[in-house]
């Protein structure tokens, strides 16, 4: 077990004793066997550098407030997780070794208003839970879920997670938030700042500044409740899948999609390259036996053998049948200008059973991790998804450069583009590796860093990162000598002067640890 920095073993034991008196003996975890579930399951060979000292599992806001009191008195760093399913970005593991996990999964309250189409959830509510709750109540509402959907609704929203329906921008569909500050103060944002306000989960803005954004991807407080908007079940829904033959087709694909996104014909859309399509259905060994990335001949064989395109695009069209039919025609006409394109449509009326392969387009959570089997072994992935403008030629240039970088480290290029907003894509570039293979882990780490550096040279940046890359990514945001990060640090020092909340998250360190930062590793 790793001790928290600056705490002696007796002091840590004393702090744990006080914590047990707050939450009960069963809910303070310090034994190695129970702490394994808080380790990063996808760590690229560096899990021990991010080992927690323990975990505490409060069940209420009052218990969180009392826990924070103890943490501040002892200088005990806490790493807040809702469920710790933020896989690919560290899971439940903390940035600062020896932090104690503040695990909120016991807080599982759900409230749904079917008329105004919103839910209020606590951190322990998963997408599967919320889906089942709505299904059980027979509300005609859809959720939007990421893939896989076993994580926390609140946690994913705070991390700016995305999904596949028109409500795919999760932070964009969050409304109202309750936060416990480091000193124990409980704050409600927006209209929730007024006791009992009826419109709290309905309207994002209120009288004065908007606070919500300060508590997403941050370590300024402990978020204990959020409102999320839900999508009314549409009268009809068509799952559209498009196929394109050539690598260079991405240019007209993106430029055509941009027009359809901006004029409202197409909502959230996803593009996948051959590797992303293939990895979801097969393994590399079924196509190629050699080392290094797949040669073009093997890629061509795979594309022919699986009857896929070099690129695939999918999205849903939602609404009244006539409206959806009109949109389908517009989509077909727009993309038919690209030579060799194929289009398949699966349509559903309200209440019809939706095929599993179209589930995420209808907010039905899945837990399939098939792409991680691409290389065999114990599959894992890390990534730093970029935010890229929706411009075809520029993206092709970026794609080809990233293919070179993936291939140089011996990996096949896994590329996805998800447009939850109409002007940009989230460009996922999953580095899939065997977590039991030290050599592959080292190459994955090297590639991760290279991709971030290359993006910076192109004036692009990631919007999420693995815990081991958070400082590195934060450092890329360099306008005016990192003025934004310095502002975050000023806020951190005011809101959490003891520096106990999630030190290092998104590169934001409390004052004492900033001063102790090691120049080489970027960590205290």
């Amino acid at each position: 077990m790793s001790l928290p920095p600056g705490l002696s073993s007796p002091n840590f034991e004393s702090a744990c004793k006080e914590l047990r008196s707050i939450v009960g003996d069963d809910w303070v975890v310090t034994t190695d066997d129970r702490l394994t579930s808080y380790a990063d399951p996808y760590s690229p060979g560096i899990a021990s550098d991010y080992a927690p000292s323990g975990a505490i599992l409060p069940a209420s806001v009052d218990e969180i407030r009392a826990v924070l009191g103890v943490a501040n008195r002892y200088g005990l760093p806490l790493w807040t997780v809702s469920l710790g399913r933020n896989y690919a970005y560290g899971g439940a593991a903390p940035c600062l070794k020896g932090s104690m996990i503040l695990d909120l999964h016991r807080m599982q309250a759900i409230e749904v208003n079917p008329e105004l189409a919103y839910a209020v959830v606590e951190p322990g509510v998963t997408y599967l839970d919320l889906y089942k709750f709505i299904e059980h109540k027979k509300y005609e509402l859809w959720i939007d879920c990421p893939d896989p959907g076993w994580g926390s609704v609140l946690g994913n929203t705070l991390e700016h997670g995305i999904g596949y329906t028109p409500y795919g921008d999760h932070a964009g569909h969050q409304c109202g938030m309750e936060i416990v500050l480091a000193d124990g103060e409980v704050v409600r944002t927006g209209l929730g700042a007024m006791h009992g306000n009826l419109a709290w989960p309905l309207y994002k803005y209120a009288f004065g500044p908007s606070l919500d954004g300060l508590f997403t991807q941050s370590n300024f407080g402990v978020v204990t409740k959020i409102g999320v908007w839900l999508m009314p079940e549409p009268d009809s829904f068509s799952a559209i899948e498009l196929l394109f033959r050539r690598e260079e087709d991405i240019v007209p694909m993106v430029d055509t999609l941009r027009v359809l996104r901006l004029d409202g014909t197409v909502p959230t859309a996803t593009i996948a390259n051959w590797m992303r399509i293939a990895a979801g259905n097969t393994t590399r060994a079924e196509w190629y036996d050699g080392k290094g990335p797949l040669p073009q001949s093997a890629i061509d064989r795979l594309i022919r053998g699986m009857h896929i395109g070099y690129w695939g695009m999918r999205f849903g069209l939602y609404g009244r049948e006539k409206v959806v039919a009109e949109k389908r025609d517009a989509v077909g006409e727009a993309f038919s200008r690209i030579k060799g394109f194929g289009m398949s449509v699966a349509s559903y009326r309200r209440g019809e059973k939706i095929a599993p392969e179209h589930g995420t387009l209808a907010g039905i959570p899945t837990v399939d991790l098939m792409p991680l089997n691409w290389l065999g072994g114990a599959g894992a992935h890390i990534e730093c998804p970029l935010v890229v403008p929706m411009q075809g030629a520029e993206f092709l240039d970026l794609y080809q450069r990233r293919t070179e970088l993936f291939n140089a480290e011996g990996f096949d290029h896994y590329c996805g583009l998800t447009s939850t907003t109409p002007r940009s894509f989230i460009n996922t570039g999953s580095i899939i590796f065997d977590r039991n293979d030290a050599e592959q882990c080292a190459r994955a780490r090297a590639l991760g860093k290279t991709l971030i550096e290359d993006a910076h040279q192109r004036h692009l940046a990631g919007y999420r990162a693995h815990i081991s890359e958070m400082d590195f990514v934060a450092a890329q945001f360099d306008f005016n000598d990192h003025a934004a990060l310095r502002t975050y640090e000023r806020l951190k020092d005011v809101l959490d002067p003891g520096g106990v909340l999630s030190p290092g998250k998104q590169g934001i360190w409390p004052k004492t640890l900033r001063e102790a930062k090691d120049k080489d590793s970027g960590k205290p």
Partner: protein, 197 residues
């Protein structure tokens, strides 16, 4: 695929003594499974892979309930497996891709599940195969099934799992002279056994 019987290296890292209790079928292959053993077992088979189906069938013949790995794993867990925990399900076994074990482990979190055994079966190298076995069961039986292996390796593995006994935590690594040609499946399987107290 054939596992040739030649053993290059057998590295027994830690091997504890077996306890007296056989887990799935203490009376052995070919005899009726006792109540509360294989009869309270579900085995998961991936319909995409012949070896996985063979493995599932070998356990089904000894009383286990076999389930096909559905494309909707969440539904498989919540609608089929989880309800059986309330009616006596004690063991869940499978020969699957690694991600399926990863998913099921996490879906089973909080239900009192313990992993009794995991075996990684790796044919990715062109000339041989590597098998890493770990768990709190008698791994020798699993190892022997693999060493003796032939084209029926998956069946043998399933039959060995019927006979295993509880033991101390141990790990065995085997390198076997065998190869699998490109196109013959994923070339990496995980065999596993979960148990509920």
């Amino acid at each position: 695929m054939t596992l040739l019987p030649t053993v290059d290296r057998r590295d027994v890292l830690k091997l504890g003594g077996a306890a007296a209790i056989a887990i799935l079928a203490p009376v052995g292959i070919g005899r009726a499974p006792p109540a509360g053993s294989a009869a309270s077992t579900i085995v998961i088979a991936d319909p995409r892979y012949h070896d996985s189906l063979i493995f599932g069938e070998s356990l089904r013949q000894h009383g286990a309930k076999d389930l096909t790995l559905a494309s909707d794993r969440a539904a498989l867990w919540s609608q089929t497996i989880q309800p059986r925990l309330r009616s006596g399900l004690k063991y869940l076994a499978g020969l699957t891709l690694e991600s399926d074990l990863f998913v099921l482990e996490r879906l089973a979190e909080g239900s009192g599940m313990r992993i009794s055994y995991v075996g990684f079966h790796d044919w990715r190298r062109p000339q041989d195969s590597a098998h890493t076995l770990s768990g709190s069961i008698t791994l020798d039986l699993i190892a022997a099934a693999l060493i003796k292996g032939n084209e029926h390796w998956a069946r043998n593995l399933g039959q060995a799992l019927i006979l295993i006994k509880e033991s101390h935590q141990a790990e065995e690594r085997l390198n076997l002279k065998c190869a699998m040609k490109v196109g013959c499946g994923p070339r990496f399987f995980v065999s596993w056994l979960m148990r509920w107290a």
